[in-house]
């Protein structure tokens, strides 16, 4: 029976699409200032930032942006000869739940297929406003969800040696805290079960992302 079942994150009502769209922070990293319709996207109500180069990988790994649209060439030669591909791998290795879109005109190049495969989605240049809106909207619908982020938490907790039953219990605590709109409760429930300090930081950061989708 439902009322005996432990509360799960998927039982709670997340914010409506329009609100999540308004809160979603999109970062475009591209050396060409005209490749993306920044002004028009902002007019359409999206929060879009532009970096001509990767200034630092840390904010990208820490999840400071919800969707990163990353060019393949000329954005990170100072970080690695692999350029954008290296940045994508650094982000995904540190934070698999981070949504990254491969953005390039190099889709013809077989050697870059790894870049397209590792990313969550792709955008092939040149792009128009309709394509960009379609992409961001579909990512908000499919990946900016509590389930997507919780799957990452489950993977990390499993790696920490937690059993499915223990993870279920953590989910119950997190869901209860979300229901009570207690952000500290969310962080506390996650922090408590992770021994490794680095992993705890990552798990809590994802927990905060989940809480944001419920308006906390």
């Amino acid at each position: 029976m439902y009322w005996f079942r432990k509360k799960r994150i998927s039982d709670l009502p997340a914010l409506p699409f329009a609100e999540i769209k308004r809160r979603t922070k999109v970062l475009v990293i591209d050396d060409d200032p005209d490749s993306f319709p920044y002004g028009l996207m902002r007019r359409e109500g999206y929060s879009v930032e532009h970096w001509p180069k990767v200034e630092s990988v840390t904010p990208l790994q820490e999840g400071q942006y919800d969707i990163i649209i990353l060019d393949i060439q000329g954005v990170a030669t100072h970080i690695s000869p692999d350029d954008g591909l290296a940045v994508l791998e650094l982000i995904k290795d540190a934070n698999p739940s981070q949504i990254v879109v491969a953005f390039s005109s190099h889709s013809f190049d077989l050697s870059k297929n790894r870049f397209w495969r590792r990313a969550d989605d792709s955008l092939c240049k040149p792009v128009d406003l309709a394509m960009c809106k379609r992409l961001v909207d579909s990512l908000i619908e499919s990946k900016r969800t509590p389930q997507h982020y919780w799957a990452s938490v489950v993977a990390m907790l499993t790696q920490q040696g937690l059993t499915p039953r223990q993870i279920q219990r953590v989910e119950h605590h997190v869901a209860s805290a979300l229901d009570k709109r207690d952000i500290n409760g969310v962080s506390g429930s996650l922090k408590r079960v992770v021994d490794h300090a680095d992993t705890a930081v990552k798990v809590v950061a994802i927990g905060v992302k989940i809480a944001a989708l419920f308006g906390l």
């Binding site: 491969a102 889709s107 013809f108």
Partner: protein, 357 residues
């Protein structure tokens, strides 16, 4: 690539269809030219070896199946000195020049295996260099797109579609041309890297809307040929598609206009099926594809002879690209031609496919 291997082969060869070809050192013996059976193509009972398989044919000559990463090649009409002692003495005398040692063949094979990746690498590099030069074009088109979008936003209307609809005709034409150019620029990738047709995530796609938008983009081009485009059907299904799907609509409508008779009608029909799929059909009156070419029209650089008369320009890559994108969606495009006129030069050509559910 196997065609290149055949050209570089010093020994006579035979292809799957039984077509003989001289080697650049050793030619086809008369006995093979006259042979009706061409049983050398069947190597099923050959002496198995990892890369080179040997068999003696009914006439007593050696046949070799050479396997490589680029395909298999059958060398025929030779006499392998060490392995073929059953060749009748009379024939042995006749084909003196076709006697070779296995070591010679192995040496050729080794050098070929070293050379081909180098040739392939260079060819690939040339393609990448050529397509790379499109980067500046892409940057230019991006700039035009940004300016076009900026103009659209100044127009009255609540949505982009409403704004474009209310725009002056000349501006509308300009916007359509830019959008068409933009979509065409994405096409070379599917030739050089077919995997790019399935890059990204599949999204629910309104097929009717995609074709309708494409019809609108092509109206001006069609009018130049006095061709009318009629769109019909009813579809609300939105099967999951990659971004590349739009290319199929572009190619099929473009071809229908290009190969339509002057003053003809192009019909585009998009309708939902009872099984939940979407049935798409693009038809026009024009030159039929000859029966013997129908199985190969989706191969690269294949153009029917009468198609060249109708449209002198064309790379023969359009339907190949459509097939690459269709394959990425597990879709099969079919071609049929009905209602041939008296001289058989004009018929009703239809390209159709089902997508989803």
């Amino acid at each position: 690539m196997i065609d290149l291997v055949r050209l570089l082969c010093p020994y006579p060869t035979i292809d799957d269809d039984g077509k003989l070809m001289d080697g650049f050192l050793v030619t086809q013996p008369n006995v093979c030219r006259k042979c009706a059976d061409k049983l050398c193509r069947d190597m099923s009972n050959g002496d198995t070896s990892e890369l080179i398989m040997h068999k003696i044919c009914a006439k007593g000559l050696s046949c070799l199946l050479v396997r490589s990463a680029f395909g298999t090649l059958t060398c025929n009409g030779i006499l392998l000195k060490e392995h073929n002692l059953s060749c009748p003495p009379q024939l042995r005398k006749q084909i003196q020049e076709n006697k070779i040692a296995l070591a010679e063949l192995q040496r050729w094979y080794q050098s070929l295996m070293t050379a081909i990746p180098v040739i392939e690498g260079q060819a690939g590099k040339n393609v990448v260099d050529a397509v790379n030069s499109l980067h500046d074009v892409t940057t230019g088109v991006s700039l035009v797109m940004r300016n076009a979008e900026a103009i659209i936003t100044t127009l009255p209307g609540d949505t982009d579609e409403a704004r474009i609809e209310g725009a002056p005709d000349q501006l509308k034409s300009l916007l359509k041309s830019v959008q068409l150019l933009h979509r065409r620029l994405l096409m070379p990738s599917y030739v050089t890297n077919p995997q790019s047709a399935s890059h990204g995530q599949k999204r629910r796609t309104p097929i009717y809307k995609i074709f309708h938008r494409m019809v609108r983009l092509f109206e001006q081009l069609a009018a130049k040929k006095n061709v009318q485009i009629r769109m019909g059907g009813y579809s609300i299904a939105t099967p999951p598609c990659y971004e590349s799907f739009e290319t199929i609509a572009l190619i099929l409508i473009d071809n229908a206009i290009k190969y339509s008779i002057f003053g003809g009608i192009v019909t585009v029909l998009v309708s939902d099926t009872l099984q939940g799929a979407v049935h798409v059909m693009v038809g026009s009156d024009g030159p039929p594809v000859p029966e013997d070419m129908r199985s190969s029209i989706f191969e690269p650089r294949v153009r029917a002879p009468r198609a060249k008369e109708f449209a002198a320009t064309g790379s023969g890559l359009g339907l190949y690209i459509a097939k690459v994108v269709a394959d990425a969606h597990q879709v099969k495009i079919s071609y049929t031609c009905t209602g041939l006129n008296a001289d058989g030069k004009i018929g009703h050509n239809v390209f159709a496919f089902d997508i989803g559910p």
